[in-house]
Point group: T
């Protein structure tokens, strides 16, 4: 059994309600249900959190330490500024997959830089809610390779 913590960053609770042309029409509950379904097919246990607070996201990363085998995080707007999230990921040393709904490299310049990226294993971005499912597959493959 693989255990993975999924952390959704700020404003993602508004997903599906607003700006569907940018982020797609799925709301966060739908995304979480699709994640849970793929997880049960793949024998993965998930813990999913969403918070608008940088401090609470740090707490969630710390809480994953000792329980999770890997992290999936969409840091949203904190992607571009939060050295604290970067440090938390580096500190707990869990293999982490960074996921983004939109292709952040095709957006405004200030969104093209992720301060999180240098401490993660890999990144999946640009496929809407599909990004989360690809991230789950990627995280599973990383954990399995490490166990071998």
């Amino acid at each position: 059994m693989i255990r993975i913590a999924v952390i959704h960053g700020p404003n993602l609770n508004l997903l599906g309600i607003r700006e569907p042309e940018l982020y797609g029409g799925d709301d966060l509950d739908t995304i979480n249900r699709r994640l849970q379904q793929l997880a049960s097919e793949e024998q993965i246990e998930l813990r999913i959190t969403q918070s608008n607070s940088e401090g609470a996201i740090l707490d969630a990363i710390h809480a994953a330490f000792g329980w999770a085998d890997a992290l999936i995080i969409n840091p949203a707007a904190y992607t571009h500024t939060s050295i604290a999230i970067r440090d938390a990921i580096a500190a707990v040393r869990l293999p982490t997959v960074e996921a983004h709904l939109s292709n952040i490299y095709a957006r405004e310049p200030f969104r093209r830089r992720s301060v999180i990226a240098p401490v993660v294993i890999g990144q999946v971005s640009g496929f809407g809610s599909e990004s989360y499912l690809l991230a789950l597959r990627a995280a599973k493959s990383v954990v399995e390779r490490a166990r071998r």
Copy 2:
């Protein structure tokens, strides 16, 4: 009747107590009373919040969605760094007026850039507590024009 949410950012709870030479001698209660008085003259209903936490400010912006016709926000120190507040304002799509007590363009270089400004309707800065009253008039005029 027009409904407007007013959000005061970090450290503004210290207003009037300290650094009056920079921000003027009014404390936050006085400013809020003057806002309420002008609001009742102008047939405006106000909801006023102050928080030091970026996450709580996001929550306040989300909460305004569905209730308010416009936002007035003084993001204070978060003006210069918070992409999350910018995203929240863009997501709720409420017409927003950015207000500052001091003229941020006459201060240190790092204070001269607002990451919030590109998503607001307009900005009033530099007139001390008067900035809030001008912002309230500006917000009212924006809402009325949209209703016409």
Copy 3:
């Protein structure tokens, strides 16, 4: 009685005729009439100038010295380059309110920096012709506070 000089910068004589989607549908005469109307309500005497020439704008600022209690200036395209206008404002030491029709911080990068802003009292931008009326109220409040 308060005396205020209003100076409109380059290309503003074309207002209302062209690009109404960017600057609103009011032409400069309409704006000036609305300013005069609010001024007479508020016991303010106005002198209004428009020029396309940087040198003529300097002359207008110099001329205000000794007559006006405050300046309102929309430096338009010179906002971003004219150190001479900045020096003139600093030299005559009149309290000055900078006004812009559009939100300059939501436009092209080279329009996001005002070289005038560091020498003014405050700034109002983004509310179309309403920006001038708010600027007039702001200027009045600054003069009255100084007289007290």
Copy 4:
């Protein structure tokens, strides 16, 4: 049936032979075999090319036009400099997935910028040869959504 062109950029013919600590132990043939296997499971027809020449990669992108439903490209060292590849992708207007073996954002600064990224649908990076399989799934999902 979905048709996808896969293009491997410069130096990737050396894969698996050298620097396994950086790019993993799989050589290009192994990766291609794994791609073909997943493709046949998923009813996808593949055409795979590798070239060290920027001009030949442009030719391959042009050739995909009219045949392929989507592109998967690992531009390798050209990721960071080739405006010509970017223009070719934009010109043929095929949905494109950018794949990288390593997490380019955790490497030297000059590797952290992709000039290709702004014209692709999405990006998968950092999972070794697994990146290609995730990219294939992503490309399939993009094509299917467009057909619906």
Copy 5:
């Protein structure tokens, strides 16, 4: 009797458990005990806080106002981005010593700039948990000099 507030920033609750090669083997409790011991030898009363939340750190700085004679703060990841913490320190006007476990100037470029440093009295960095003890001695000496 001298009263000093000590504030530990984000992720420091993980100290001693992880990355001992970078931050030393002491956990936060050990550091706090050593601080308390030196404080009681030197007739200093301490109040120690740790938080992952920027807002809560602001609250702690505000709370020190009126009680403490000096602040010791290790802003950790917020060192490089938090204008709000800088403003809070400037607002409460308590003499502040900035402490860092590691030598931030020998680390990644983005860690070499402290936005906090311009408002503190001085800085001690690079001596592991010893940095805190040196900071305590420094804070004491600053307070005593001011009293003279």
Copy 6:
């Protein structure tokens, strides 16, 4: 009949008299005669202005509005700094060809940037007085295409 306004910027009245090695040996009168000759061959009516004053150039652009079908402008030294000329061209919305005697991209770095270029149809530079004749042909072709 096509009507085109030609505007020569600052210092161009000195042409042909000084620095022939840089700008060629033709003086401004000769250039204007050659322009008039080609214009009469091509059934074009011309109005030609030269001014050293930025404000007077704005006036000339405004005056072209309502009369001219296209503008040809050599903004000379104002090419690199005048946002006001850029705004005037954008405001009158006449198709504009930017002409330069010398190849500005082979000169000092500060001459390699034209703030005017983003609002013009196209640019001809580097062919001495021939640049004006090519610009006249280009302007004619643009007007004719628009009429079709």
Copy 7:
């Protein structure tokens, strides 16, 4: 008789087929026919090449040496990066006219810099396929002036 080599850079073989809103509706054959027609009217012999490969473009420039009196080149995407093309033009010392279909100075920032421009005689950009005809006239005038 004047001999001119015309070199079309990468992706230009797709012209007219795709993105007509950006580059116009003419395909490369049409452009070449119009060039040949003007050339025969003006007593010019042309040799026209197109290649996607930077190396092949260098070969074409070298081949022009000893045959051509002038070069016309549209380096397309290589405009912004190819020091090798710049060096080849400088080495063969043929007068060269740089041509662009679109106004590169009104496009994305990375397209606004031509590394080729400092070694050419002049530049024509922004007039669609007309740019090539203007370039041919310009090249002819440069050769004739040199022969005088």
Copy 8:
């Protein structure tokens, strides 16, 4: 007999009236009288102009051509932005001395760069009205050396 044109730039007509702590207590008439007195002692004929308009300053430089042996110019605020004044000085090829009342290199960063300086013979700055007298001596020495 040596003939020298002296040109005072924008806002200098306000000298002596305002900001004596920055520019000294002498007004422009006093400075001009002291210049005339030294000139008559040194057998120099002077022509002195002041203008707030960049275009009028260009005209004055052009007018000096054919009459003056040297120029003394204090371009004031235009020092930092006027490529047109630079071009005019370069075009008339008169030996030019740049004079500044204040030490521009000890002021705000944007005042520390003179775009005029690369085309002048030399510069005198920081000695108040004395700067003009030193500039006159310098100009005389340059003209005499050239005559030898």
Copy 9:
């Protein structure tokens, strides 16, 4: 017994005589006496040097090699430019504490960067002459930890 070399950089011989508001009222002899007193209490042998010459400071660092257990250096103005001092410290591989009287991070931008810092163990800055005493305690603690 611990042996520590203390090196004072350029201009520090003027300490206490001039600019006491910036560097405190202690002259260099007083600081050295306080250092010697603390050293004798802590069983440390000191060798103290001051020089205005970068070369002589290199010689002093070289001389410490083979004798000292640690270095304390206040490189003063050379802090910001001397790669040679940095190389010397790296070459002799003595644990080094960098000390500054003032908080260099609260001063002019060019003083906020220490090229020395990346090769030292730690830094103490901002506490006036107290900085040296804290540096001595820090150096002792570093040596003792290494001996254990």
Copy 10:
């Protein structure tokens, strides 16, 4: 016996024919003959290639793998842009000497940066065709030292 591959980059086939004042009067054949002569004196076997194509240069580097003991490469214009050549050299892990005819550090700014340099053993530049002979001696000495 030592085996060394020598690779000449783009435009070097024009050597000696053009621009002798910059690159010296030797053509590429002369250089290759002098290299072969020194090689036979020093018991070195050479394989020499020249290509204008970046892709062909990559192929040549790949081909050297398994045959050569060292590489000598003059990447010419690709020196400044080709991450692909850099990656190829890093991948084959052959000790490589970078040679330049001219002193690239005394030329235009964009030629002063070599993206190849960080992966080579050393560099020889500025001695005309002599640079190649010095590079051959350097390569030999590197191979011999490694064999010892």
Copy 11:
């Protein structure tokens, strides 16, 4: 009687011997003789030093303290890098005139910035050896004004 220390920086001992086209034909002895002559006419006592060593120049500035009324310094190559000389001038608080033989603002970019300029009274540059005589007159005028 006025006492002035004159300090010549590095390489100035070679003056007049080499590069007369850049620095003029006078050697340092001639310049010093002319300075002494003007000094005796103007009742000024001079002390003149030249050194190639930054440390020795600091010593000379320190030595002037207590003796001189003003400093004249040509820091030559140290103009652009020596924070230590800047600090020494600021520390001794003598009014200082910076002199340069050549117009440093018309030379290479790295020579256009003086780190010394912000702490001097004024600057004279570009008049060859005449710059020193003008500097002497300027220094005298500064001292006399201060005495009044």
Copy 12:
């Protein structure tokens, strides 16, 4: 007979004693002996100096003037900052070869720029002590070519 001055910069007296992994195991005496041996084989007379002082290095360059036919200099840490050494080399106009033990372009960013390089003939870097022998051969070849 050829005469060559060899100048070793700061910290090179420590060579061979420390950091052999970076600079090789040879000490400075060994390098000097190998230089003398090759010099006597090649009929070259050498004068070798080492100094840690920038001023003393300037003196050594001046002293070479009139005696040496060429200079070999390893400016070590001064490579990156000393405009004074650059000026001295330019002033004595001796052909100069810059030598470095390590490949400075593969080290920290601040070591990748040589301010000396633009005034030397050529550069040899990265071959340990062999760099000096190659530099000697290069210097000889330069002198011989000049004599021809």
